[in-house]
């Protein structure tokens, strides 16, 4: 069965450093991968999309990589700030279904001032 693992349940870093979150998957061939941010008591908010034929995508301080050979995506936040503290979810889509997203459990990022 499809499996998505976000390798850290929680990650603590110092303000100004780069946060790197990992998303690995098995038994899946996604057409695209998305990253969402979720704050406590709120629904997830879409951040970035990367397609299977793209290696890297950037948006402001965010960078996502997608390696379909390793079946892995890395999500980087550079020059991290305490306001970046949240849970980050990866979600896989496509791969036989043109509508369904399969979510990982998320990584709780805490950026310490």
């Amino acid at each position: 069965s499809q499996k998505i693992e976000q390798n850290s349940e929680a990650l603590n870093i110092q303000e100004g450093k780069t946060a790197t979150l990992t998303c690995n998957y098995t038994n899946y061939s996604p057409a695209y991968l998305q990253w969402y941010r979720q704050d406590p008591g709120r629904g997830p908010v879409f951040l970035l999309l990367i397609r299977e034929n793209e290696k890297e995508k950037r948006k402001e301080r965010l960078k996502v990589t997608f390696d379909t050979t390793l079946k892995q995506s890395l999500f980087h936040i550079t020059a991290s700030q305490p306001a970046d503290s949240a849970t980050y979810l990866c979600a896989l889509g496509g791969g036989g279904s043109n509508y369904k997203l399969t979510f990982g459990k998320g990584t709780l990022l805490t950026v310490n001032p």
Binding site: I4, A31, Y32, Q34, G41, R42, G43, P44, V45, F46, L49, R51, L89, G93, G94, N98, Y99, K100, L101, T102, F103, G104, K105, G106
Partner: protein
């Protein structure tokens, strides 16, 4: 513009009672999804609507769960004879469902259901 709204934001009920959760998607979004998020767990897919039809109900946990959508807009998720294990946050999302959108989903704030 208005985002996805859900009501109620919190619902406390007694075991065995029925509950109805409501979702108002973004206007014009044809796709609508229901998810369940339990403490420490990821988002669990429940059901997908395209317009008023539900081509995928595969995530509904049991026949106590049902959902409908009317007018291609508002959706209600109904849980009959609630059990304590139904306690969770129920999230609704909508999507424009355009091929170019790659299915970016817009989430509501969720309904926190507590079954005593």
């Amino acid at each position: 513009g208005a985002g996805v709204s859900q009501s109620p934001s919190n619902k406390v009920t007694e075991k065995g009672k029925d509950v109805e959760l409501r979702c108002d998607p973004i206007s014009g979004h044809t796709a609508l999804y229901w998810y369940r998020q339990s403490l420490g767990q990821g988002l669990e897919f429940l059901i997908y609507f395209q317009g008023n039809s539900a081509p995928d109900k595969s995530g509904l946990p049991s026949d106590r769960f049902s959902a409908e959508r009317t007018g291609g807009s508002v959706s209600t998720l109904t849980i009959q004879r609630t059990q304590q294990e139904d306690s969770a946050v129920y999230l609704c999302a909508s999507s424009p469902s355009l091929p170019s959108s790659y299915n970016e989903q817009f989430f509501g704030p969720g309904t926190r259901l507590t079954v005593l």
